[in-house]
Amino acid sequence: MAVVTSARAVPRRRRFDRSRAAGVLLVLPSLVYLTLFVFIPVIKAFATSFTVRDRDDAGNYTYRVGLDNYAQLATSDTLRANVIFTVFIAVTSVAIVFVIAYVIALALRFGKGPTAKLLGRIYIVPLFIPSVIASYAMITFLANHGFVDGILQAFGLPDGAFPKIVFDWKGIVITQVWLSLPFMTVLLSSVLLEISDSLIESARDVGASSWQIFRHIVLPLSAPGALIGVTFMFLGVIGGFTVPYLLGPNAPQMLGVSMVYYMTNYFEPYIASTQAVAIFMLSLVAAVYYVRQQFKREIR
């Protein structure tokens, strides 16, 4: 109503808001924790990345502030290869997990038989296996002259014909897939559960085949939720250490491994921090995307 009565003419005073105060109070402990154990170390890492250490001929060090670490990151072929390799591994494993998890999630959402039930029981298992064990199991399983190789050779595969999986990008990808499968499946299942039957039935009603329903209805509808899972897993893979360390090739290295080498083997904490910041920046692209998706959902 456009009428402004005299009572309304008094400017509305916002009374003290208890809900706001309580909200701040309840969030505070976690904020304090995060500040101490995450934000401060992160800021420190940023600071370290701007510390440059020079060494003279006799091996004595001098320190200054500068951008040299970043320059080195940008110009070093090895480091650049590492960045590319890291992104490659992350993208590949996420893509593969996505496909497999999607199939499982579809089976869980639309399947009824015993197979669907079985899938529902087994996909979750890797969630309960520490990544060190998983990596180790994969080594014994997939190595040349390992378990799979042995079985295949028993069936007539010539010695040496088994592809190099361990100490190769394939090893990292397979193990990442193994480890991330539960997470992605769980996420996709819940996303698919949110798609109501009537949306699918109405598509059938206008004549869409199963594939067309998947392609035009299920996939696009699950995309926002699925992309959140993808982003999340991408972040996890990009910063990971255990799997690429135990199963990866000598070079190029994933950034997580490279960082540890710089830190502990080459005694170059400054470069290591710079790498950490670089990964962070890389992740930030994904993170910002994630957050934007979240807010879009919230608005809806």
């Binding site: 808001d17 809900s19 309580a22 909200g23 309840l26 402990p29 976690s30 924790y33 995060l34 154990f37 995450v38 934000f39 401060i40 170390p41 992160v42 890492a45 869980l108 197979t115 899938l119 029981r121 087994i122 890797p126 969630l127 309960f128 520490p130 064990i133 180790y136 994969m138 014994t140 399983f141 002259h145 378990f147 042995g150 769980v186 996420l187 996709l188 819940s190 004549g207 085949s209 199963s210 594939w211 067309q212 998947f214 899972g229 972040l235 990009i238 990971g240 135990l246 540890v260 921090s273 790498q275 950490a276 990964i279 962070f280 992740s283 930030l284 994904a286 993170a287 957050v291 979240q294």
Partner: protein
């Protein structure tokens, strides 16, 4: 209707998806492959743990033996590590819950200022590479005397669990009809009483799942523990790292089985809570 009814859709390339028998068969194949992919690597570990002698190219161990089991179980370091792992994990989970549940509740129900910014900040632990964070944190730990302490390890583990727990509980609280809580207030319950009598019991499944995740994450954490926990706080996965790098494959295998067993037990216990609605809720619906 003025227009002629259009023809039925054209013949499709993907006929096999529409054929239920074919679809069922493909699904079975897929299920079998998945079972092999997930199960067999773990099974080889079990084989290794009982291998007295197993050299290439034998498909199974040529000698079976329990001596690795004996060796591992007699090793006090293993027992210590095991005890440590399974005492730290509940502590981490509990502390995480204590910090994360209020925050989750606030994000779900209350008018938290700068909510978006805060949620963005809550992402940083996941976006900043863990190793970098741990190393940076270690330096801080030296300064505040948390290095190589029990609480140092606990707080480090919480980095991974806190965010997760906050998200899942936020989503769980969101899914509870706020009227239920209001009805309790209306019946005379204080805000706290309403929370404990009504909201918390209803949120329990979600909280259990979040706790399970925290527990597993804590048991899984090796890299950070290695940096801030040595030498006194060696957890199971840290010890496993060591064993893998000192060429004791059967020992490592025994150890893996030992470490995986409690988790798998947990899996059985937790099965009924592992509805994907709860599990993924945290990520999908914050």
């Amino acid at each position: 209707m003025a227009a002629q009814a259009p023809a039925m859709p054209a013949i499709r390339l993907s006929w096999w998806i529409d054929d239920p028998r074919m679809r069922r068969m493909l699904l079975r194949l897929f299920g079998g492959a998945l079972a092999v992919f997930i199960g067999i690597p773990l099974l080889t570990l079990v084989l290794w743990s009982f291998a007295g002698e197993w050299f290439w190219p034998n498909l199974i161990p040529t000698q079976w033996s329990l001596r690795w089991w004996q060796e591992v179980l007699e090793n006090p370091r293993v027992i210590d590590a095991m005890v440590l792992s399974f005492t730290i994990a509940p502590v981490v989970t509990f502390l995480t819950a204590v910090v994360a549940i209020p925050a989750g509740y606030a994000f779900a129900r209350l008018d938290v200022p700068y909510r978006r910014t805060l949620l963005l900040l809550f992402l940083i632990p996941n976006a900043f590479p863990r190793i970098g964070l741990y190393v940076s944190l270690a330096v801080l730990y030296y300064q505040i005397g948390l290095i190589d302490t029990y609480w140092g390890v606990v707080f480090l583990h919480m980095i991974g669990t806190l965010v997760y727990m906050t998200w899942i509980t936020t989503a769980t609280f969101r899914s509870i009809d706020p009227h239920l809580e209001e009805a309790a207030r209306d019946a005379g319950a204080s805000p706290l009483r309403a929370f404990f009598s009504v909201v918390l019991p209803l949120a329990l499944p979600g909280i259990i799942v979040a706790s399970l995740f925290s527990f597993l994450a804590s048991v899984d954490e090796a890299q950070g523990t290695l940096i801030v926990g040595t030498p006194h706080y060696i957890t199971m996965p840290v010890l496993l790292y060591t064993l893998i790098s000192s060429f004791q494959r059967p020992v490592a295998a025994v150890f893996s089985v030992l470490l995986a067993l409690p988790s798998l037990l947990l899996l059985v216990v937790a099965q009924r809570y592992l509805h994907s609605e709860y599990v993924a809720a945290g990520l999908g619906r914050v």
